[in-house]
């Protein structure tokens, strides 16, 4: 890894994303996105669909290759071309997907265990203990032997959170963790995310649930057209945004929530 020289007084972000660009087939999706996450930060990215939010999270985890830009973890630049370094980085940055992506051929317990056994090389008994503890923590102690097809959407997402947490990441990236869920199942996932927040987990969350975002985040980013249009504390972004585009989006989403509520 390439060490970056930094001022002694400056606090080093846990995760720093600098000037990330990404095109798909000539269409720009990310246009120079930069953000910093400090320890314990909970930052939420909101914005219209197609604005580049999910691509940003995929780029941070190098699941999509960056066209340009740099990612730093604890002040050290991640060199994703070095495979071992990339695999180690991904263990430290947990990722939660919109559609859960549980391994379909494994039950809940083995979904959580497999990373510990195959990647972290823990003995099976130790991996089992840790997996059981993580599943207990997300309230699925009674569902360990169930396969993904036997779980509800909310339970699947909780298993995927337990699977990511078992790897003991320093930062969690959550890509619309509730958007594929029935409204009545969203609450149980929100509860788990709130519990994570109360434990001080550093998180970058993409969501359309601006009410949830407002109560959880210490900073909200509004993304549109592949750029961060505006950022600030939840009260400012949601109710007193400077940019007209941000105000328009937040008021529309707010009305939608009021009507559906």
């Amino acid at each position: 890894m390439e060490e970056e020289t930094r001022g002694m007084a400056e606090q080093v972000p846990m995760l720093s994303v600098q000037d990330v660009h990404k095109h798909f087939g000539g269409v720009p999706v990310l246009n120079g996105v930069s953000l910093n996450l400090f320890r314990g930060d909970i930052k939420v990215v909101i914005g219209p669909s197609g604005g580049g939010k999910s691509t940003l999270l995929h780029c941070i985890n190098f699941l999509v290759e960056l066209d340009a830009g740099r990612i730093f973890l604890n002040g050290v630049r991640v060199n994703h071309t070095r495979k071992r370094e990339l695999y180690a980085y991904r263990q430290k940055v947990g990722m939660i997907f919109q559609d859960f992506n549980l391994f379909d051929h494994l039950d809940a317990l083995h979904n959580v265990m497999i990373g510990l056994v195959q990647v972290r090389k823990l003995p099976r008994s130790e991996a089992r203990q840790r997996a059981e503890a993580e599943l207990e923590r997300v309230g699925l102690g009674d569902h360990m032997a169930k396969y993904p097809a036997e779980l509800s959407g909310g339970q699947k997402q909780r298993v995927s959170i337990a699977r990511a947490l078992a790897m003991e990441p320093g930062v969690m990236l959550l890509d619309e963790p509730t958007s594929a869920l029935d409204p009545e199942l969203i609450g149980e996932v929100h509860e788990v995310i709130r519990a994570l927040a109360s434990r001080g987990m550093t998180m970058l969350l993409v969501t359309h649930e601006i009410g949830f975002a407002g109560t959880l985040a210490n900073e909200i980013y509004f993304m549109d057209g592949g750029r961060i249009v505006e950022q600030g504390p939840p009260q400012k972004i949601l109710f007193d945004a400077e940019q007209a585009r941000t105000r328009e989006f937040c008021s529309k989403i707010g009305r939608l929530h009021e009507n559906s509520g």
């Binding site: 991904r90 947990g94 992506n101 391994f103 497999i114 990373g115 097809a149 995927s160 790897m167």
Partner: protein
Amino acid sequence: MEELLFLRREVAPELLAGLWMSIQLIIPSAICGLLIGIVIGTLRVYGNRLLKGFAGLYVLFFRGFPLLVQLYLWYFGLPRIGIYLSPFASAVIGFSLCSGAYHSEYVRGALQSIRRGQLLAAYSLGFSRTRAIFSILLPQALRRALPGSGNELIYLIKYSSLAYMVTCIELTGKGSILANFYFKYMEIFSIVGAIYLLMASVVSWGLNRLEDWIAVPGFDRPKI
């Protein structure tokens, strides 16, 4: 009655010896064919350009050439370049390579049917590509490939009879020799056919049990 005694005394021991040879041909060919199929099928989906090209050519050649012509090449053709294979080795190699080409297509189709999210989730946990393929994708893909690959195994049982054409005298070979000798084509080939039917039925039953055994709730085999 006399006919039955004749069949039991003269024909059965010979056919059993032929059956034993068939089994000796089928088992290693099935195992090697499946392993080749997994490797070639995986390379066709996840190999680099060179390996994909090699795997594609492999399938083109071994699926496109008639099996009998392949067997002739291994047994009668290779001595031209100084390689002498026994009839048994020629047959096993020919069956394995041909069977592998067909298996690889079932494996390729199954791998391509696995959602990309499975690979992304494995990557996000720190899996390497190779480990993700072996630990996450292949265990799912092989479940999906099993019905097709099982079909290929049944084909193998039947096309093992071609070994006779390169002088490896298995069940069909023995039957043919006996039928010509005693001039009892109807009786002997009916028995030979029934033995193949029995083998195919046993394997088919075993494959169904295997499908049940490795079935995962909600994965491909919804219980109706």
